[in-house]
């Protein structure tokens, strides 16, 4: 390893990077969504066109992360005129270069001032679509790693924790536990060895925020982890990332390598006594590993089954040591909080939910993609103004948040502000940020069955309520859908929902009934329409015991 990095090196890199900036920057989205529409070919073609036009000195073609409007990909953005080209192909890409010299671009454009973009507030995604995720210098040019330097040299670990408490940041993985409190507990736990884990096992079907953050701005996550490690006294970090995200893994590996080369990870970071290394652990397809204790079991190379808490990971976690686990988006918030101050962050959002939240907007909606909005933004603004409503003149029926652990919020509640408490009151959860819009053609009982099947398949099988309960609940939902169920079955289903919710070992089982419960609450008529008359009469009046079998 070379000499330790100091602040002046950081400023030098930044100055060099800014000096090398060319007059025009063409940004090509190279996140997984656009990559699947061959944006890599678009980038190559653009580079070729720039060379052919002899514009290498003036134009830079830069591969960047997500530019948010995934449904219109591949996206290309031209600076400084701020033109956003959509559905670019290798064939029509050269005309974008031609347009720089007064020609006409034969590519459709979208309005960068449309509500979809204007209503966004970038903290986590501030660099997404701007920074080159494969070059650490690009991140440093945007003041990257300055927060880490300041924290290491001007703050004690306790001050770092206090600032996190003051910021009011809450965990973005779903439950919304105050991040500062978690950091404080790990910091106070006795132990020479401590760990920091980044939970990048984004398992909710319909959520891709964390993937985008990792693909678009991996260094923000690394810097956030390093600050957290300093605060709690850890020297080893792990990023547990899904195997389904090969591009995110590759970018992370690359980012860690670059940070090590510059001495921003490793021993004696910024000439301080702080040592910190990060290793990647690749998940292998188990939703339950998003649960903290199951995730730790998996990092230890075991079957990813959860265990009862306490002891909490903050006291006895990975390999029995105090462990801090936060998710990707939480860590990505960290550098900005220390760069701009806790008060700045606490000034955004609502009283109890600070900052912004990233959502993956998908389903039956015109504009699908990534959005980051201040906490407290009404759902209606997100879905109707930004999302553009249902496509083809359809009507929005419900919005599903929180994936298999969340619920469906019906259209009449669209004015609900997006924050932890308001969504909780409606029987849903903030979740990690998946937001699936459903229109009139979506059958809610089918949605409930879909999520129950998911939970049934993903149950680890350790505790009985989740393992056997999800099977029975799924069968009952199937029976209702096949129009073979009676009101007795519906009551049985509700009773099971209540039991599984309150007796399961981990969050997966405890929240598995949520989609069913919330659709029962708001769309009960859809269930009742499918029920058959009960030949035994209404339950509870002394009729025969249905399907009674003695063991």
């Amino acid at each position: 390893m070379g000499d330790a990095m100091i602040l002046s090196d950081l400023t030098q890199i930044k100055a060099r990077e800014l000096a090398a900036r060319k007059k025009v920057v063409l940004r090509v989205c190279l996140a997984a969504g656009c990559m699947s529409s061959e944006s890599k070919g678009v980038k190559e073609r653009l580079e070729q066109a720039v060379a052919e036009a002899g514009l290498q000195e003036e134009v830079e073609v830069r591969g960047v992360g997500c530019m948010k409007l995934c449904c219109e990909g591949p996206l290309v953005q031209a600076d400084p005129e701020n033109a956003l080209y959509i559905k670019v192909t290798a064939q029509n890409a050269p005309s974008i270069v031609a347009a720089l010299k007064g020609g006409k671009a034969e590519v459709a454009r979208t309005d960068p001032d449309a509500p979809f973009f204007k209503r966004q507030l970038g903290i986590v995604l501030a660099n997404s679509g701007i920074v080159d995720p494969e070059r650490i210098e690009s991140y440093i040019a945007l003041d990257g790693y300055q927060a880490l330097h300041e924290v290491l040299h001007e703050m004690t670990p306790k001050e770092v924790v206090d600032a996190m408490v003051a910021s009011g940041l809450r965990g973005r993985g779903g439950a919304g536990f105050p991040t500062g409190l978690k950091w404080g507990t790990v910091a106070k736990s006795p132990g020479a060895k401590k760990y920091v884990i980044c939970n990048a096992d984004e398992g909710d079907p319909g959520a891709f925020m964390d993937r985008s953050v990792l693909e678009s701005d991996p260094h923000a996550v690394l810097e956030g982890m390093a600050i957290a490690a300093y605060a709690v006294g850890a020297d080893q970090g792990f990023i547990y990332v899904r195997a389904e995200y090969p591009l995110a893994i590759a970018r992370l590996q690359n980012a860690i390598k670059q940070a090590k080369q510059l001495g921003l990870l490793g021993s004696g970071v910024f000439e301080s006594p702080f040592n910190f290394n990060i290793d990647i652990r690749i998940g292998a397809g188990a939703f339950v590993c998003g649960e903290e204790t199951a995730l730790m079991a998996s990092v230890e190379g075991k079957r990813g089954t959860p265990r009862p808490r306490p002891p909490f990971p903050a006291e006895s976690g990975l390999f029995g040591c105090p462990t801090l686990i936060n998710n990707v988006e939480t860590f990505a918030n960290v550098p900005a909080i220390y760069r701009n101050g806790a008060e700045w962050f606490a000034g955004i959002g609502t009283e109890k939910s600070k900052g912004t939240k990233v959502f993956a907007l998908a389903g039956k909606i015109k504009n699908t993609g990534l959005i980051e909005v201040p906490m407290g933004t009404p759902l209606r603004v997100i879905v109707e103004e930004m999302g553009g409503g249902a496509p083809d003149g359809g009507r929005i029926k419900a919005v599903q948040t929180g994936g298999p652990s969340g619920g469906c919020i019906p259209a009449q509640h669209l004015d609900t502000p997006v924050d932890y408490e308001s969504l909780g009151k409606l029987g849903s959860i903030m979740g990690s940020g998946g937001m699936i819009v459903m229109d009139e053609s979506t059958k809610m009982v089918d949605v409930a069955r879909f999520f129950m099947e998911f939970c049934m398949d993903e149950s680890c099988g350790k505790c009985i309520p989740c393992r056997a309960g999800t099977v029975q609940m799924h069968n009952l939902l199937e029976k209702i859908l096949q129009r073979k169920a009676t009101v007795r079955d519906l009551l049985k289903l509700e009773e099971l929902c209540d039991m599984v919710k309150h007796t399961s070992l981990c969050g997966l089982g405890q929240t598995a009934p949520n989609p069913t419960l919330s659709t029962l609450r708001f769309f009960r008529n859809e269930y009742e329409e499918l029920l058959q008359p009960d030949k035994f009469g209404p339950p509870g009046n002394g009729g025969p015991r249905e399907s009674a079998r003695t063991p």
Partner: protein, 240 residues
Amino acid sequence: MAAKTLTIDGKPISAEEGATILQASEEAGAKIPTLCHLDGVYDVGACRLCLVEVTGVPKLLPACTTTVAEGMDVKTDSERLRRYRRMILELLFAERNHVCAVCVSNGHCELQTLAYNHGMDHVRYDYLFPKWGVDNTHPLFGMDHNRCILCTRCVRVCWHIEGAGTKNVSGRGAQARIITDLNIPWGESDSCTRCGKCVQACPTGALSHKGSTVGEMERDRGKLEFIVLAREKKQWVTAD
């Protein structure tokens, strides 16, 4: 060691620091139902039958893994707890093929006893009737997967008391099953020491001595605790 005072079902109790609610409740004379718990082996909190209500805690807590705290007010029995426990038992009976009348453990089965105690005279859920099969390849023991409730007692005694690591769980969810080695017939396993601890540990008729017929399979669970205690406290063993 410091003592903690707490209330269990209205009765004031003092328990050693670090003791579980389950241990403390025994002294209070309160019988909390358990299935995955086995004296002498570490707890996993999986069966959820021992869930209790603790005043001031919104969630139900497993008695086997929750340690006592000063001033704790524990309720081990309530209408709600009994309802949940009965439902858990019904789910188990519906999950695999538990037919007491032809089972080796009839009359000595923990699952059956619990069902009696909870007044489970019928099962409200559809029986799944899976075809799990029987492994009778071992010279001494038999394993009937149809009667397995996946409490993992056998796995835990095999790893932590015997130290052979023969048994484990494969798959997950409803497809989870107990395996020997690389999912080979038990009789072909060479890591198995034939110690029989797993058979002693099994709460149902899933593991049995070969040759036992209906109702004949009785177990001596005290043996396992005896071995563990003897090892920990160096009792009954001498150097020469």
